[in-house]
Symmetry: C2
Subunit: 340 residues, 2 copies
DNA sequence: CTGAAAGCGCTTACAG
DNA sequence: CTGAAAGCGCTTACAG
């Protein structure tokens, strides 16, 4: 089982009695060949089970036909679904996928973007989930060919693709207001992040448009189960200062419900809850959770299309922001405030 | 913004006044250099922001320092968690990860294994979830450097790593038997697959060891939500021929519970349910689902270690099978059979 | 239409 | 200790 040399273009060329140039051209489609020759070459390829060496091809062509995808955490179902959609799209287009998980460590983000700058991948789909001090943005601006997805890197001038977070917040708020809620807690991610800002803005707007007094209390932390637990504890410690909670991710909702249930707080009798993301099996929860659904797969598909469609030579075409629509999935976790 | 030529080894060498050989050796650590020279080179690298071109390096070295991971479906939380664990391990070792989703299409599996044979990746972690007609096995045997994870490819002679499925089935069966169940339905994946065979065997063994009459009814299909729904419908159509159901994956459990709930069948009052996998938020389900937990991350970590540790020259060391322990997580979906 | 040859950017025997 | 040179396996002007 010695690492037998793989068959190369040259082997094929010899077997077919032509030059490597010809074989290479046939493979790359830039050629009309006499069908006799063509058949001979194709036979040689089959006989030798030839497959081009991608490393050589990449070196020679100066591009890799692979795109990089950096996400905070692959195990998170939201990102997993996104990765899955990107992979499927990439595969359709003959592109390979290089996957990087940053696990929320800024250093890793930096190094991946640097890698792109060096042509290791042909483009990058970039998803962060923590604030940037400007370093990342400037790096992105000088390397180009990255599209930012899901969460913003404010000073980066590249195409951006988000869910319609503001409208998501609005839908949640309207649903809550329809049931008579006026005091609601927004349990979200880091305050600096665009998703949190926009979702809570939308929420406020929906409550405000009723023309009656209202209050939004912000619990801002991170998009994690642990923060969801914290939010629930705080809510309890503060003696339930609201009649409803808008949990801004599946993870937050999971932690929140976990603690609320453990403490015997009934949803929606004592407090109503609306979630965000809706990628987990929320319909099986007790109670089934009403939530804003993000178009996760569409986000992944569109992100790749954007990367490929963008004319990277035209600076003015770069600074775009595209929003994908969200919807509310009504289940059973919202009821009118109890009259206690 | 023309694609400015990236700085190469040669640029660094010139800037430092040495040969590319010297720089290359310094980078690859096979060299003691006078510290003055060393500093000069390092300064040049820093000044020029040099980073080696991985495509050239791969071509030259004949290896890629990347490992391939093929999974049926990335969006599935079980596989997502596995991918996440592998990615983290790979990153620790300086290995890149190439990800492929087969979406259950045999043709795609074949082509990825072929790619490995051509040295595009240094090794492959392979996860299938459908029966093989022998084609895959023979391909795997002739390319080598693949470890099979989670589900078997029977005729392949390579290291294999599974969860202890038999024991998982046994734990489920024992728990059910402890509560007095004697007639249970096994709702699992394809009958040919090792996971299904072993889990149902374990289940039977646990029931049998009580020394009383028992019956296991097998519903075999696939590890999907849709099959879970089918299983529930069949269970209902057959007028509930058992007092408990062992759902052999989170997906199956989800589909099953969905339909049972919709039909007003109470768990665990009318039928007990035990799940398998336990990667989703089963503790928030109504009722919280008792399940066998798979060591998903450990599976990923160990798989990579196996790939790296195996001595691929020694045929006798290849045919190994390693089992990772599972455990039962008791929640609230099992009760004694109703006396109706 | 077809091929010889240079080049992509590294690594690594082989010499000095 | 250090370097010139060949080689990895492709692609692609450039000639014929």
């Amino acid at each position: 089982m010695s690492p037998k040399r793989a068959t190369s273009l040259k082997d094929v060329a010899e077997a077919a009695g032509v030059s490597v140039t010809t074989v290479s051209r046939l493979l790359n489609g830039s050629l009309e060949l006499p069908s006799e020759t063509k058949l001979r070459i194709e036979k040689a390829i089959r006989d030798l089970k030839y497959e081009p060496n991608p490393h050589a091809r990449r070196l020679s062509r100066g591009r890799s036909d692979t795109i990089g995808l950096v996400v905070p955490d692959i195990a998170n179902p939201f990102f997993a679904t996104l990765v899955s959609a990107v992979e499927e799209e990439a595969d359709k287009r003959g592109l390979a996928l290089s996957l990087y998980a940053t696990l929320n460590r800024p250093g890793r983000e930096i190094s991946y973007v640097t890698a792109l700058g060096r042509n290791h991948v042909d483009g990058l789909l970039f998803i962060t989930n923590h604030p940037d001090n400007g370093e990342l943005a400037s790096l992105i601006n000088q390397t180009g060919k990255v599209v930012i997805v899901d969460e913003d890197v404010p000073d980066a001038v590249v195409p951006k693709l988000f869910s319609d977070n503001d409208h998501g917040g609005y839908l949640a708020g309207r649903h809550l207001a329809d049931h008579g809620h006026r005091r609601v807690i927004y349990a979200g991610g880091p305050r600096e992040m665009i998703s949190t800002r926009r979702r809570s803005q939308g929420l406020e707007r929906a409550l405000k448009e009723r023309g009656e007094p209202f209050q939004v209390i912000r619990y801002e932390g991170s998009y994690t189960v642990e923060f969801g637990r914290e939010a629930a504890r705080r809510f309890l410690d503060e003696s339930m200062p609201a009649t409803a909670i808008f949990a801004s991710s599946d993870e937050i909702a999971i932690g929140l419900i976990e603690v609320l249930r453990a403490q015997g707080v009934s949803i929606p009798d004592e407090v109503s809850v609306v979630g965000f993301d809706d990628v987990g099996p929320l319909h099986l929860f007790a109670p089934p959770l009403t939530a804003i659904r993000q178009p996760v797969r569409a986000l992944g598909e569109r992100a790749l299309a954007l990367l490929l469609e963008t004319n990277w030579q035209e600076p003015e075409s770069l600074a775009s922001e595209e929003l994908l629509p969200v919807e509310i999935v009504v289940r059973n976790s919202v009821a009118p405030p109890s009259k206690s």
